[in-house]
């Protein structure tokens, strides 16, 4: 399988140069960083909060917090990883506010037995996504990923949608590497199983419209 690439624009000026310039007070350099990563932060925030208004707030709050704390960014990690860490924390705070009745944490207890072992294994149609219109597919994908616990959803989004490495994901979420790997496996298997309801081969031969 080809390596998963982050969906970020082609950097023209190296990230660290922009960060250094922003630290010296160059607001335009910081604006370049906002342009570079705002789409990613918005996607991550909306995946976690599942709410568009909250995601908009998270984008603003995360970039402002990054700007205010630039001095604390020492450059041991990528700026983007540091920014994602801030954005994830802001998004989780939003989620907690909306769901005070439930504890929302990335460290929430997750079952450790083989609860993700596939129960039924049905093969999918070839090009299953083509059975649905774009709007239907979007709805299926959104509802399916929203059903995952926040801790699984976040790891999946950072690793598989945004293309962060396992190490970067661990750093951004303050999790150990084994914890990231374990959650990623469970998230992938749970999503696969849930999507199978929509994508599995149909016996009657009407699977391909």
């Amino acid at each position: 399988m080809n390596a998963i690439q982050p969906r970020v624009g082609e950097p023209v000026i190296p990230e660290m140069e922009l960060v250094q310039a922003a630290k010296r007070g160059d607001v335009a350099a910081f604006e370049d960083l906002v342009r570079r990563y705002d789409r990613n932060v918005f996607r991550i925030a909306q995946h976690i909060t599942q709410n568009r208004e909250d995601a908009e707030d998270v984008v603003q709050d995360a970039f402002l917090k990054a700007y205010e704390n630039l001095e604390q960014f020492q450059g041991q990690s990528k700026f983007y990883t540091w920014l994602v860490r801030i954005a994830v924390n802001e998004a989780l705070m939003k989620l907690r506010k909306r769901r005070p009745e439930r504890t929302v944490s990335l460290d929430e207890e997750v079952k450790t037995e083989d609860d993700s072992l596939p129960r039924e294994v049905a093969d999918w149609s070839p090009n299953p996504e083509q059975q649905y219109t774009q709007a239907e597919l979007r709805d299926i994908l959104t509802r399916t990923i929203q059903g995952l616990p926040p801790g699984f959803r976040t790891v999946f989004v950072l690793r598989d949608v945004e293309g962060l490495s396992t190490e970067e994901t661990a750093e951004a979420l303050d999790l150990s590497i084994p914890a990231v790997k374990s959650r990623l496996l469970r998230a992938r298997l749970q999503l696969r199983e849930r999507l199978s309801r929509y994508f599995q081969k149909r016996e009657s031969g009407d699977g391909n419209k």
């Binding site: 399988m1 996607r43 603003q60 396992t166």
Partner: protein, 84 residues
């Protein structure tokens, strides 16, 4: 190799991070275990579908508004606490 052992290695396999010997063992298992083959193949498709889905794209007009709001706040911060 048992199916449960295969599953434990599935993420490393899909991410291409494993030694050649383990990879050969997994592929040997895949060659005869249809269930694991299907799970592996459809998990890979799951990842690809989400990666390519463009869920939650930021519309350009909203993007512009958010960026303007962020930069206005940054300018105020830069101007100093007395102007906040």
């Amino acid at each position: 190799m048992k199916c449960s052992e295969f599953l434990q290695e599935l993420t490393n396999y899909l991410d291409g991070v494993m030694d050649e010997r383990t990879k050969a063992e997994l592929e040997d298992h895949l060659a005869w275990c249809h269930n694991c083959y299907v799970v592996c193949d459809t998990t890979k498709k799951t990842i690809e579908i989400y990666r390519d889905s463009q869920l939650y794209e930021l519309p350009e007009d909203l993007r512009g508004r958010l960026r303007a709001a962020i930069m206005a706040k940054c300018q105020r911060k830069k101007a100093g606490p007395q102007s906040v």
